[in-house]
């Protein structure tokens, strides 16, 4: 959640506009709807790095041939609690929503389902899919691998992706608990943003091209795993776990073998893997007991004493606060993205969504 100059639009209007653009770029109605939903959902919760601003990336991927515009997503049940989803090189958002929906169906029956997704592409924020499950009363764990940008612990060049892990659980009487975190300390976007602002990076989050730690955003050539110089083996260990679940378990190659997300060549299929586990809480504990335990836990956590001027929050709380604000005042879109979307809109004959407000570093 970094401040930026831009406009504000209603989430529903943004979602409709993005859907129209994606269809304009050739995406099938269901593909376009899935991607527009996920991007808007992420931005509505202030996960701006993985929201609306990624739309041009997908539009270019569709134009370039990396993304199959009309995939035939196949869901195969390989065991009582195991599903495999073949994304057919389509938008990763469609494959991931399908995976979660199929996972919920199986979890309703078996109590639990693992869904391994292969032949997919970038799916935006992993939390969109675990959240979709939590909205239906399920808990879910989600992961994705990604192309190499993070160095292994004690390594000097990128090998792992930022490989995020997300966990969502329904919480009676409130928004779901929603953890969604990269296993690097910071995402690449943060480095790029600091190149614009000129501010140094935090210590122990990036390496230069020679593999030495750097706080210069222009020198940063690789990210360090969560835990920094002393404890980065933990962040790297989690990234390794995620890479394995998203490659060996999905039949895909590991992150280091994937084409770069930022490469100019967008013709090669990304072939990402995702991995989801869907839990039916009622298969573990009586529903009311489970809800009461969650309530007591969250109340206890949020009531913990904090540093001066701070509050102890549950995972997702900052995003839910932003969601409330953005629901009332519109979702911000930064100026560069807005201009880019305007160009795509012109090309595909889609009118930009209505501007309902302005935002800026001071807002």
């Amino acid at each position: 959640m970094e401040a930026f100059d831009g406009v504000r639009c209603r989430a529903e209007a943004v979602e409709a506009f993005l859907g129209a653009l994606l269809r304009g770029a050739g995406a099938s109605p269901e593909s376009a709807a899935a991607a527009a939903r996920a991007l808007t959902d992420a931005s509505a919760r202030a996960v701006d790095t993985h929201g609306i601003r990624l739309a041009p990336h997908y539009l270019r991927g569709l134009a370039g041939g990396r993304i199959n515009p009309a995939p035939r997503v196949r869901v195969e049940r390989r065991a009582a609690a195991v599903l495999h989803v073949d994304g057919d090189d389509g938008l990763g958002h469609l494959a991931s929503y399908r995976a979660i929906e199929a996972g919920m169906e199986v979890a309703r029956e078996s109590g639990l389902a693992a869904v391994a997704v292969g032949r997919s592409t970038h799916h935006g924020a992993t939390g969109c899919y675990t959240l979709a499950a939590a909205r239906q009363g399920f808990a879910a764990l989600g992961m994705t691998n990604a192309d190499a940008i993070v160095a292994p612990h004690d390594g000097v060049k990128p090998f792992l992706g930022t490989n995020p892990i997300s966990f969502a659980v329904p919480a009676a009487g409130g928004q779901p608990l929603l953890l969604d975190m990269a296993t690097s300390s910071i995402p690449l976007n943060r480095v790029l943003l600091r190149r614009d602002t000129g501010a140094p990076l935090p210590p122990e989050v990036a390496l230069d091209a020679a593999g030495a730690m750097t706080v210069d955003p222009f020198a940063a050539a690789a990210l360090m795993p969560l835990g920094g110089a002393g404890f980065g083996y933990k962040g790297a260990g989690l990234a390794v776990m995620i890479d394995i679940l998203c490659s060996a378990f999905t039949g895909m190659l590991h992150g280091a073998m994937l084409p770069s997300f930022t490469a100019a060549d967008v013709a090669v299929p990304a072939r990402l893997g995702h991995f989801f586990i869907v839990f039916a809480p009622g298969a573990f504990q009586p529903e009311d007991g489970f809800a009461e335990r969650m309530r007591a836990f969250l109340e206890d956590l949020r009531g913990q004493p904090a540093r001066p001027g701070q509050r102890v929050l549950a995972p997702g709380d900052p995003e839910w606060a932003a969601f409330a604000e953005r629901s009332a005042h519109g979702v911000p879109i930064d100026a560069a993205t807005w201009a880019c979307l305007g160009e795509f809109g012109q090309r595909f004959g889609c009118a930009l969504p209505e501007v309902v407000g302005r935002t800026g570093p001071a807002c």
Copy 2:
């Protein structure tokens, strides 16, 4: 793996001795065997913090009444892929080995199994159980909650346990990949050790009683989550996820409500929860394809360029190197633990295992 003065004994001899001590303290043969196996397994892989040196803790817990010496562990299948294990307040090692065994049985059939363990006690190193699954060709995820010692992000007093997560996967032609990490940067043991050595703590791993960061091991009153001051919301988020899976999903209370591990009063049942997920890789991908992907991944990871004087390692590699050395030369037992075990041995009429070597800070 901190250096210490002590003796070395063969792992088999240690395991037999610990089993005899635990039986001497009243533990049923199966309880004693499970705990002796786990403690020796941890020490054999140089996880000394969770190995032999914990034996006195369990012996006191059995004597004090916290641990039921002869539990009736019950395994209940609550859905096609969901098991609940009631540990009956016995040694957590027995409940956990039972959980993994039952999980493998279900995963053989359903491809996947979640096992929620309630009414358990401290189970040593969580990696012992995921490793037991990997030795049988399964992958496994393991977690446990624990009493509060870690502050939430932006918090000033303990609320979360060190809540470890472990992941093990079989790797053809080598030892399994084995991640086993606390979600705090360092364990409490490391603080206690630094009190002995007088060395300062690393920065951003501990808080004093007022909630300020400290590097003074004597002032440390709470641990900080993995990620430190800047990114501790990630470590804390993982700890929250683990606490929920080990409490709301098992029917137990969350970590902050559990009695202290180090409390003098060892009469109150610990009521910990553990959570395991067992995966049958063959239900996801053809077995040979899976093995080949794992081989290629590990070869690629271990071949990555490293900082001068370092090597890039896979999770578990340092422990497997220690395992080879300890298999050849015996498992080290620190002098204080050795003396304590000697006293218990005298009380229960068990001869100490044969000393096959010595170890010291210089070894």
